[in-house]
Symmetry: C2
Subunit: 218 residues, 2 copies
DNA sequence: CCACTCTGTGAACTGTGCTTCACATATCTC
DNA sequence: GAGATATGTGAAGCACAGTTCACAGAGTGG
């Protein structure tokens, strides 16, 4: 999370150099690549957050590169440089998978604005991809587990069979199954005396659930 | 959600009557029942929020009633009246599934405090059982669906194939599957021009997810 | 009109989450 | 120490979510 790396792909060395320079001066870690083919390796090595690519290049153009890129690195943002400011170019750029585009010729601040905007959006969307998210949400998407959390939030601590009776569930192994799940997700813990409690994270989730339930239309 | 209904089960008519009176005077809708057997029908009919039951009764005692009750109506709270204030009685009461207990003899305010506390906790825990909760959370517990939500939150509106390319997913039918799911849960909508957008509820969920992700430890 | 993209449906397959049952160890109580 | 209760494991089965594939009507552009 140090500095954002940006890869600039353009066969025109002058343009490429000047883009890299502009970005570098603005505090980004910018790297250039003179062809799409060469870029693929660089991307694999550097894992840039953002790629700026010219759509008109000898060999593989930007249009062809983008599907490949999106497929292997879905969370890399792509800004395409289109030849001239025509609606048509813009549309085709977006259609082939670009997240944004700028048209030649562009000013320094046009470039920087586009870059910053896309990095912002990237930060926003990548929040939703955080690894733990799936597990936590799947864990919460079960009535019994939420009931357990709610109960522990009220009673602070509880033993196994006590909890089972409290929930009115006949089969204790069923409760055990869900307790294990909650434990795996670090929402509850069990001390030496076998007493179950909410963890700090568990309490946070209880808060979140309360907030969520207040937002769900009845 | 009008007035909370409370069922009082006690074979002692004097005690039962006075409890019902105390509760009624405090604004609750209190009903009496003279045996556990008779109570079961009343419960089925009235769906009370809370049941107050004496554990020493001819016929089925409170102890025997509670597992039955919890099984059929897991979200009814049970307060047990124990004969005398002994630790032993309290423990066995809780062990057999009571949510709370009061010991004879008790004062008016002891009763009311216990009733209010349990109704509070009931309100809290029943939030977590809301029907829509399972569906929404299960819907959010999927990376692709969250990605779609995030994308729509950024771009406001998007067509099908545009979205598909943006996500970098090769198989469009896969995206379609998740879109359908999101639509079913009213998080996104589609107008006549086939443009997908977040619904109001979808936007709320995006907010919730953002909040959630900030609370999950990296 | 032909070709191509867009948008979507339905069926087959697969993995996994949840439940249930049978059984195994502790732990407590008398 | 014997019997009950508490706590937990592991395997079998079921249902369902997610993926993939084959296909099809609707639009669109040349």
């Amino acid at each position: 999370m140090a500095v954002e790396t940006i890869l600039v792909i353009d066969d025109d060395q002058d343009l490429r150099g000047s883009i890299v320079e502009i970005l570098s001066n603005d505090g980004f870690h910018a790297v250039g690549s003179e062809s799409a083919e060469a870029a693929l390796e660089t991307i694999r090595a550097l894992k840039p957050s953002l790629v700026i690519v010219d759509n008109m290049m000898p060999g593989m153009g930007g249009m062809a590169l983008m599907p490949l890129l999106k497929k292997d690195f879905p969370n890399i943002r792509i800004i395409m440089i289109t030849a001239f400011s025509t609606v048509e170019n813009a549309v085709t750029a977006m259609k082939s998978g670009a997240d944004d585009y700028i048209s030649k010729p562009f000013r320094r601040d046009e470039l920087l604005v586009a870059v910053r905007r896309n990095l912002e959006e990237l930060k926003f969307t990548s929040q939703f991809l955080e690894s733990g998210m799936d597990d936590i949400l799947a864990c919460l998407a079960n009535q019994i587990r939420r009931q357990i959390l709610a109960t522990l939030a009220c009673e602070k601590q509880m033993r196994f069979m006590n909890l089972t009776r409290h929930l009115g569930i006949a089969d204790h192994t069923k409760v055990n199954f869900h307790l294990k799940n909650l434990k795996m997700n670090n929402l509850i813990s069990q001390d030496r005396e076998k007493v179950y409690r909410l963890t700090a994270e568990g309490e946070k989730m209880v808060d979140c659930l309360q907030l969520l339930s207040s937002r769900i239309p009845s």
